[in-house]
């Protein structure tokens, strides 16, 4: 009996406390509200919108009322039969793997070289120059590249002076991957080296002094001290890079490619864009628009890259004792 009374009392005080808390703190909830609503609309509703990959989406009906696909996996089944599926899978993976092989080590090498420069002014100026391309927009970068490689541009004209016959590389399927990776390195290598330079600056200088006393030359210092010390940073960034293999920068590709280079340039992202938004899915402008099918292909890509993230993280945890979570 006594027990019951005290419990009732404490419940009352609890409710009372909650009321005063709300009276005093209601502005906090109004502060959160706009952000909460924006995330709900622009992140969660599109997540729900994935259902359109299982529907026959009709623009007038929206994701909430469109009829279900028959069978529900119909668009996925169609994807595996699609004549372009092999091409976009192969291009996506090859472009991702080649990008990883070139773009990932480049900033590490650059950081190691910057670190060897002892002249303060030279180091600062060259670093500043190296970050600069990062702040140019993709459109500008591709625009400049198209000017450089144009038929009337400097690269072809210098090549022809040297007796080398060259075509406009933007029309050449064989050149596409090099252009894509080259432009990515031009824009990102300096900026991405910053994080490695920060890791290098955290290394205890006594390690180098000890190495010098032991007679280690500069190459040996880099190999036995600098590189092992920045390994944890390298591995974390490598996990991100590996899981990004399927997620090529399709927006940049949209600026770079044309039907002449689809053979190597068309990736999942660009195919989804053409199939679902611009409507010229085939090599020519055939005007087919299938938004549900495009969403299914997009979903396939998201699932693929999520699985890759989990797997690489698992692998890194087992092998390198470093992981994201």
């Amino acid at each position: 009996m006594v027990n019951l009374q005290t419990r009732g009392l404490s419940r009352n005080t609890k409710r009372h406390r909650l009321n005063t808390n709300l009276q005093r703190n209601w502005p906090l909830y109004t502060m959160v509200l706009p952000g909460f609503v924006l995330i709900l609309i622009f992140s969660y509703i599109p997540m729900y919108g994935i259902v359109m990959a299982f529907q026959n989406f009709k623009p007038g009906l929206g994701f909430f009322h469109s009829p279900w696909a028959q069978p529900w996996y119909g668009h996925f089944a169609r994807m595996f039969r699609d004549v372009y599926f092999n091409r976009i899978m192969q291009n996506t993976l090859l472009l991702g793997v080649y990008s990883l092989l070139w773009s990932f080590p480049a900033p590490i090498l650059l950081a190691l070289m910057f670190n060897e420069i002892k002249h303060k002014g030279y180091k600062r100026v060259s670093q500043t120059i190296s970050y600069m391309p990062y702040f140019l927009s993709t459109v500008i970068v591709i625009g400049i590249m198209k000017l450089l490689f144009a038929t009337e541009g400097p690269i072809i004209s210098v090549a022809s002076d040297l007796g080398i016959e060259m075509e406009n590389l933007f029309m050449e399927p064989k050149a596409f991957r090099s252009l894509y990776i080259g432009s990515a390195i031009w824009t990102g290598v300096g900026y991405n080296s910053i994080i490695y330079l920060a890791a290098i600056s955290g290394i205890n200088p006594e390690l180098y002094e000890a190495a010098i006393i032991d007679g280690g030359n500069r190459l040996q210092q880099v190999w036995y001290i600098t590189i092992p010390s920045i390994m944890p940073t390298v591995i974390i960034l490598l996990i991100f890079a590996v899981s990004g293999i399927v997620g090529n920068d399709y927006q940049k590709i949209l600026l770079m490619y044309n039907p002449a280079t689809y053979k190597t340039a068309d990736v999942i992202g660009t195919y989804v864009y053409r199939m679902g938004i611009s409507g010229d899915a085939g090599t020519g402008g055939t005007g087919i628009l299938n938004q549900s099918y495009a969403a299914a292909v997009g979903l396939f890509q998201s699932v693929f890259s999520f699985v890759l993230l989990v797997l690489t993280n698992q692998f890194a945890r087992r092998v390198g004792e470093t992981s994201l979570w």
């Binding site: 808390n21 703190n25 502005p27 906090l28 502060m31 959160v32 706009p34 952000g35 909460f36 924006l38 995330i39 622009f42 992140s43 969660y44 509703i45 599109p46 997540m47 729900y48 919108g49 994935i50 359109m52 929206g62 070289m113 060897e116 420069i117 002249h119 030279y122 100026v125 060259s126 190296s130 970050y131 600069m132 391309p133 702040f135 140019l136 927009s137 993709t138 459109v139 500008i140 625009g143 590249m145 198209k146 000017l147 541009g153 400097p154 004209s157 210098v158 910053i194 994080i195 006393i213 190459l219 960034l237 600026l255 992202g269 989804v272 864009y273 679902g276 938004q291 495009a294 999520f306």
Partner: protein, 294 residues
């Protein structure tokens, strides 16, 4: 003796200084090429391409762009509007979302945190997003440039971490004096977090300045287009330049399409290149803020 050996400038140094020097040329030359081409006359370009210095130095291409039908300043004005207003909205809403996390009595921190973190790992993808934005009627409005990306989980988390490092005693003194939460945020937390706001304002503006995909997807009305869409049309597409500029007029003035294209490049990147050396340290600190989380 070991020390003396370390300070000597040997063949290894020559090699590295040389490679870094060549890399600097590699980073700068494309922009230099645009500059010299834009300042050369059309006839000179046809004779032989200038590679180091402008040939037949002239401002004709710039003069033509500034007086032509294609009103590059209108696109510029739109870009500045989207960059300034969009960043202001984003910083305001982000700090409002981050502040309650540091108040002890706020109920729902765990829920909100999960609510945000989920969006960092999962998304709907291009098509559902495209359809949603279209269905909301945001196509061809200024709102599509300002609202959808205004609050991101990642930025809120960084703001929250930064606000948390501000001593709580500062806030508590203000509460006792009767200040409300909005006031504490605006008059205590925002002023002490200036470096945070400076860095994110800068990144936000550069991001909006360079954004092209959103307006490419959603904006077709000429008077709302930002500069990047104009750039895509005139630099990247084959016929876009002829739509914007009169070919006959160009021939008359001895201007080639390359002159116009390179001049447009220079006009658009000039503001960024001018402020860049002064703001460089904030830019460099941006990547470090990002890596704290990683």
């Amino acid at each position: 003796m070991a020390r003396g050996k370390r300070n000597r400038f040997n063949i290894w140094d020559v090699l590295i200084y040389g490679v870094i020097g060549m890399l600097s040329v590699f980073f700068l030359y494309p922009i230099w090429y645009c500059l010299i081409t834009s300042l050369s006359s059309g006839k000179a370009l046809l004779r032989s391409l200038p590679l180091l210095w402008p040939r037949d130095f002239t401002f004709e291409a710039y003069r033509y762009i500034f007086t032509s039908e294609a009103n590059i300043f209108a696109y510029y004005r739109n870009t500045i509007f989207y960059a300034v207003v969009g960043t202001a909205i984003s910083l305001t809403l982000t700090s409002m979302m981050a502040y309650p996390f540091i108040v002890k009595d706020f109920i729902g921190k765990v829920f909100l945190n999960v609510y945000m973190v989920i969006t960092m790992f999962f998304g709907g993808g291009l098509l559902p997003y495209f359809i949603l934005v279209s269905e909301l009627g945001l196509r061809n409005t200024i709102w599509v440039m300002l609202i959808p990306g205004a609050v991101g989980a990642y930025t809120v988390i960084i703001f929250r971490t930064f606000f948390n490092s501000v001593p709580a005693s500062l806030r508590e003194a203000a509460y006792i004096d009767g200040a409300g939460h909005y006031r504490v945020l605006a008059q205590i937390l925002v002023p002490v977090s200036k470096p945070l706001f400076a860095t994110f304002a800068l990144f936000g503006m550069v991001g909006k300045w360079n954004e092209w995909f959103t307006p490419f997807l959603f904006i077709t009305r000429e008077e709302l287009k930002p500069i990047q869409v104009f750039l895509r049309e005139s630099l990247v597409t084959i016929n876009g330049l002829a739509d914007q500029f009169s070919v006959g007029k160009m021939a008359q003035l001895d201007i080639l399409p390359q002159n116009i294209r390179t001049a447009i490049v220079i006009i658009t990147i000039a503001p960024i290149l001018c402020v860049y050396p002064f703001l460089q340290k904030y830019f460099a600190s941006g990547i470090m803020i990002g890596s704290i989380k990683a």
